[in-house]
Homo-oligomer: 107 residues x 2
DNA sequence: CTTCCTGCTATCAATAGAGTAGCGATGAGC
DNA sequence: GCTCATCGCTACTCTATTGATAGCAGGAAG
C-alpha cells in the first residue's frame, strides 16, 4: 500500500526542529532577527525597520526571542543578537540567497 | 545621534527576502516543506505528518506554496518539492542543525 | 518647570487558524 | 452493477493571534 510505504520512508521531525519551525511560524519573528543582523537596534528603530509593525506584536516577539535566548536586551542600545541568534542569522543568510532566486511576482 | 548612526549602518532588507520571511511567517508553511523532504506525500499523510493540522489551513498553505512554486502537485502521489523547494529544504536542513543546539525547554 | 524621545501597555477591530463534519470522486472487492 | 473505504477538499463555527491606535511613565535636556 502506498500509504504504508510512505510511512516507512518517513524520518521523524525532531522535537527541537518542530519547535524551531513553530517559532519561525510566528509572524515577524525571523524578520526581527534579520533586522538585527548589523547590530543592536532599539525598540522604535526595530519597529520602523520591520515596516512599522505594531508595537504589541513586536513586544511579544521580542519576549519570545528572549525566552529562546536568540536575542538579548542591553541597557542603552536596545536589542541585539545573542551567540545563538548569530548562528540563526547564518541560516537566514542562506534563506536570503535562496529568496534571490525566486520569481519575485508570485504571491 | 544614535538613531542616525544606526540608520547609516543598516543594510536594507531586499524585497525578495521580505517576501520569503513573510511566507515563512505563516504557520505550518515551513513545516510542510520539511515534511516533504523524503518524498511526495498526499493530503492526508501530510496532515498527519504535521500533527493533524486542520485541513483548511493545510489547503491554504499548499496553495500558497504552489503559487510560489515551492511544491507541485502530482497526479496520484500528492505533493512534492519542486527544484526551488529542494533548495529551500537545504536551508531548512541548516535550521535543523541550528535547532539541535538550542535549550530545548525554552518556550 | 517644559519638551522631547524612549520603551512599552491597553484597548478594540480585523484576520488567521483550529476543530469538526461532511461532500463528491475514485478505486477495490464482490 | 453494488458496497465500502479512502481520497482531496470545502463549509462552518469558534478561538487565538495579529493589527491599529492612543497614550502613559520614565529619563534626558534645556
Amino acid at each position: 500500500m502506498a500509504q504504508r510505504i510512505q510511512n516507512l520512508r518517513r524520518a521523524q521531525t525532531s522535537a527541537s526542529m518542530a519547535q524551531a519551525l513553530t517559532l519561525s511560524g510566528r509572524r515577524w519573528a525571523l524578520r526581527v532577527v534579520w533586522e538585527l543582523r548589523v547590530g543592536p537596534l532599539n525598540f522604535r528603530a526595530l519597529q520602523a525597520a520591520c515596516g512599522d509593525i505594531s508595537p504589541s506584536v513586536l513586544q511579544r516577539r521580542l519576549n519570545e526571542l528572549r525566552d529562546h535566548q536568540i536575542i538579548e536586551k542591553i541597557p542603552r542600545l536596545g536589542y541585539r543578537l545573542s551567540t545563538s541568534g548569530e548562528k540563526l542569522f547564518q541560516v537566514l543568510a542562506q534563506l536570503d540567497k535562496w529568496s534571490a532566486g525566486l520569481p519575485d511576482d508570485a504571491q
